[in-house]
Every structure is written in C-alpha cells, then in structure tokens.
C-alpha cells in the first residue's frame, strides 16, 4: 500500500495544475480541491444485442452492443487521459476515471434469450468491461440455476443487498457491495432488487427471500461511507422510478427520501426515459440523484460528477449537489 499512499500524495499536488488545464473545471475557485468521476449506465437492456430491425418501427436502427461498445471505448479513452497523465508520472496504471454500471433486466426480450439463455448478453457486457450490475426480475426468467451458469462468463459482479439467496443456486454468487478506487476517489456500489412476489413466478423465484430495501440499503451505505470511508455511494436499483397509480409503493423516489449516505441511484424496471436526473432530499436533507435511461440499450446514460474536498467531521451534515447543464459533446 506504500506506493498507493505515495501516489495519492503526489497526485494531490499534481491534481491542481492538471485539473486546472481541463476546461471542465474552468471557473472553479479551488481547482486543486476538485476531482471528477464519469459514470456510464444502462438498464433494462432486455437481450437487445442487435439494433431494432429496420422495419419502420419507432425504434428502428436503435440500440445494439457493437455501437454501444465502441462509444464506451471512446469515452473511456477520453476520460482516462487526465488519469493517464498522473499514472505516467507515478508509474501506476491501475486507475480509471469511468464506472460502467447496469441496473438489471439484462435478460429477456429477443430470440437471443429464448435460444441462448443469456450467454451472449453476459459475454457482451464482460467484453464492454462493465464494472457491476444488479439483478432485475427478468434475470430470473430462465431460472436461478441458469443465471448462476451464465455468470460463469461474467467479468463483473451482480450486486444486491436485499435478496437472501441462501438455499438457491445463486447462493454466494452475488455480492452485497463492491468498492472501486477511481483515481483519488473511493466509490462504494451496492444494489437493490424488486419484490419478486406477484412479478416473478414462484417456481422461478424459488427460495429467494426479499428483504426491506430501505433498511438494507441504509445499512450498506452507512458501512460504505462511515466504515469504509467511501467518497460516494451508488445504488443500482431495479425497484422502478415511480408508480403513478400508487405513489407510496416502494420505488426509487421513496428509497431516495428514506435513504442516508446514498449519493446516486441508477434505476431501472419502469423503462423510464428521463429528461434530466431527478434530485430528491434524503432523510437528513442531502441530495440524492436518480437517473434511468429507458430500455433496450437505446440510450447510454452519462453522469459526470465533480467532487469537492470536505472535512470528515462534516460527513453527517447535509449537502447539496448542483445538477448542471447537459454535457456538451
């Protein structure tokens, strides 16, 4: 760990001049206190490996893993440039400024899934170097044993903190959270799944036990921020953004309001195309960002976060996050 410590010491000094030269940070008073993370995300891709066919339908030509992979590669190489400059100076090449995440329902929706049961979906996500995903209700569709088999091809973990999968074929095949070091930042990522009752057929859900998403997420976020010292906690959620017909039903908005120490919810399930990220106040008055990008891989979402330095003793104080304009390409 000595080299990491040295790296952090040196980059703390190097950061100011490097970041100041980056136009993103122009106009910031304390440029040497700012660092940045790019999050790319998808949800409810539903086995859409190829673009929608050219049949005159409203989504024709949209989606597809080949175009998404190329775009992700381009964004990564751009965003890694600043970090690479640190790395060159410090002889460290372990850092990356991009996190690529998915909020579940990877499976079901095209004949690829009927025939191959998720094999090409998982292989494609691994090839794109996804960092993590969570479980959607349709990821149960070919059974939990099948999910466990397909995950043998996964280079990324499935994160979920509110499913007890003991005595199922998925036992010990998921993680409650994972911590990513991205440059100077420590990012904690966890996931919450939707209640399978009335949604996933009993024979497919098997012994899956659904646990309270709020209590389990808060337990996890508290651990990540206070014990593990993460600078940011991200929750991948398949609860759904909101339910018009029943606003009290558990959803990302309810989750955000009742959460603590969660900075960002990457959502799914409701196939919601959002004009801009939603911002909700959590129970201590801090901002929680919620975002979701429709379905079928029609969109790749991008969130560029800037971070400012703060005192650890102020961790419990509420803080606000300014949602800026759309990133201009």
């Amino acid at each position: 760990m000595q080299s990491r410590r040295k790296f952090l010491q040196q980059t703390a000094l190097a950061a100011g001049s490097l970041l100041a030269s980056n136009s993103v940070f122009a106009g910031w008073g304390e440029t040497n206190d700012v660092t940045k993370l790019t999050i790319l995300h998808t949800n409810d891709v539903h086995s859409r490996l190829e673009p929608f066919p050219m049949d005159g339908g409203r989504n024709q030509g949209l989606g597809g893993v080949a175009a998404r992979a190329e775009l992700i590669k381009t964004i990564r190489s751009e965003e890694d440039r600043v970090i690479a400059a640190y790395n060159n100076e410090n002889g460290d090449n372990s850092s990356s400024g991009v996190l690529l995440l998915d909020a579940g329902d990877i499976f079901q929706g095209t004949p690829f899934f009927n025939i191959y049961k998720g094999e090409p979906e998982i292989k494609a996500m691994s090839a794109m170097k996804y960092d993590a995903a969570t479980i959607g209700n349709h990821d149960f569709d070919a059974g939990l044993e099948n999910l466990a088999i397909q995950l043998q091809n996964a280079s990324f973990p499935l994160l979920v903190c509110n499913y007890d999968l003991s005595n199922t074929p998925m036992e010990n095949k998921t993680l409650p959270y994972k911590i990513f070091r991205k440059g100077k930042l420590k990012i904690g990522v966890t996931g919450v799944g939707i209640d399978p009752k009335g949604l996933v057929p009993d024979n497919l859900a098997g012994n899956t036990k659904y646990l309270d998403p709020v209590a389990n997420l808060n337990r996890m976020a508290n651990k990540l921020k206070r014990e593990e010292g993460c600078d940011m906690v991200i929750c991948l959620s398949h609860l759904g953004y909101k339910y018009k017909e029943n606003p009290n039903k558990m959803c990302d908005i309810v989750l955000a309001k009742e959460s603590d120490y969660v900075d960002l919810i990457i959502g799914g399930h409701t196939h919601t195309f959002m004009d801009e990220p939603d911002v909700q106040k959590n129970k201590t008055g801090s901002d929680v960002i919620i975002n979701q990008v429709g379905w079928a891989g029609i969109m790749l979402g991008r969130l560029d976060f800037e971070f400012s330095k703060m005192q650890k003793k102020n961790l419990t104080k509420s803080h606000t996050v300014t949602v800026g304009k759309k990133t201009i390409e």
């Binding site: 949209l62 175009a67 590669k73 004949p111 090839a127 195309f273 969109m299 790749l300 979402g301 703060m310």
Partner: protein, 249 residues
C-alpha cells in the same frame, strides 16, 4: 480506513488550516444521454463475438409469418395490438382445448413491443412481442372472482380481452358484460389467460387457488399459428378499437 491515514504535505494542510482528515463529496453533476444507433461506428470485437449467435438466431427467426395491414399499437385501456392478440388467444384456446370459452384476458405487461409496424412480421418479431414461455390455461371463475380480477386489471389501466366488454371507473371495473350478457356474480365462466397471470402474476392473487386446465400450449405458439392462418388465407392482419375496454363517463 486507508484514506484517513493519507497525510497530505504540510503546506497543503496549512493551506486548509484544518485537520488533514478529509474526504471528497459530490458537488455537481452534468448529464448526457447518448442515443445508440446502427449508424454509429461499431466495435469489431463485439461484432465478431456476436456473429455466430446472430447468424443462428437470424436463420431461424427471419422467416415472414404474416403481414400487418396496419400499424398495430399497444395502448391502454384498449389498443389494436392487444385486441388482435386477445382474438388470437380466444381462437386458439377454443381450438386447442376443444371447448367453449367465455372470455380471454391478457396482461398488458405481457405485450413486450410498443407496436408492430405495417408490413411483414417475422418469427423473431413475434418472439420479441411475446418472449415469455407462458402457456394458455383455462380457469373456471365465478362472477365474484371475475369481478375481483377485473378490478385488478382496472387498477393496472385495463387489459386486452376478447369475449368481455368492460369500463373503468375509479380503479374499478364497471358495466361488465360477458358474451354480451351482464356479469352474473353467481354464474361460472370459462376464462382463458396465460399461466403467469393465473399463478398470481401482476398481483392477481385471487386466481392462485383456482385449478388450471393446461395443454402445455405456449401463448407465443398460439400467436404464430393464428398469424400463419391469416397468411394462408391471404389476409393481412388488421384490428380496430371497438370499446372493449373504455373509461366510464
């Protein structure tokens, strides 16, 4: 705990004139949605990974099963696509079970495409429309249970049906007729649906205890066969809004 141990050089500490025990927190976020399209550059790695799968899928899925005479749309409380699929379920349920069926219902969430454009419909398109391996089942429902079931569909915005006409009012089903006759609480009806719903899916818990009659017949196969029947007769598939499901005034 690593981070709290990191000691920044002394002058930085003095600069902040406070403890070195610092962390970062999110301060601003910018956002962007990239539209992904086949017009954009494609990754060679992903294209070649996908090719063997795609070749095999396309070989079995690109045959034209039928032709849509109009663009069929999924809508609530009633849409042309839902009506056509409900008609397919009704026709094929009667045929496979060889018994009269009073009404069929399909869950709106089970229709997985927003529309089918006018023109050729491939086998693959039908798989996308109905990807689940759900079977058609018949249930004997008394009028009371049927009312509860329809109230659940009302909460969910109205479901495609054939054989039943009903209206939605304050999240309840009203003015219900089955085969043209008002719903009778004491009568017993033969109702077709997919096993996902009959097993309590989409919050239809009231159906869980009801015995199901099954022939192991997939709803998707029913759609394919119904569409192929029309094709054989040289007919394009059409459907219209008939106020099967509507909002009460």
């Amino acid at each position: 705990m690593m981070r709290s141990l990191v000691k920044y050089p002394l002058f930085l500490c003095l600069f902040f004139a406070v403890s070195c025990d610092t962390a970062y927190q999110t301060s601003t976020v910018q956002y962007k949605d990239y539209r992904i399209s086949s017009k954009q550059p494609a990754s060679n790695e992903l294209s070649s990974m996908l090719k063997p799968y795609a070749d095999s899928v396309n070989k079995s899925m690109n045959d034209v099963v039928a032709v849509a005479g109009i663009t069929l749309e999924k809508k609530q409380p009633e849409g042309t696509l839902g009506n056509l699929l409900a008609d397919a379920m009704m026709a094929k349920a009667k045929e496979k079970f060889n018994t009269p069926v009073d009404a069929v219902f399909m869950n709106s969430g089970g229709i997985r495409l927003p529309s089918i454009p006018q023109g050729n419909i491939t086998r693959g398109k039908i798989f996308e429309l109905s990807p689940f391996d759900n079977q058609i089942v018949l249930l004997k429902l008394n009028g009371k249970i049927l009312q509860q079931f329809l109230d659940t569909t009302a909460i969910r915005g109205g479901w495609p049906t054939a054989g039943c006409v009903y209206q939605l009012k304050n999240k309840k089903a009203v003015n219900i007729t089955i085969g043209g006759q008002p719903l009778n609480e004491n009568a017993e009806y033969t109702i077709g649906m997919v096993d996902y719903v009959a097993n309590g899916g989409d919050n239809c818990d009231m159906l869980k205890p009801i015995p199901q009659q099954s022939r192991g017949y997939l709803f998707r196969d029913a759609i394919i066969e119904y569409f192929a029947d029309a094709q054989k007769q040289g007919k394009a598939l059409v459907s219209k809004i008939e106020n099967r499901v509507s909002y009460a005034e």
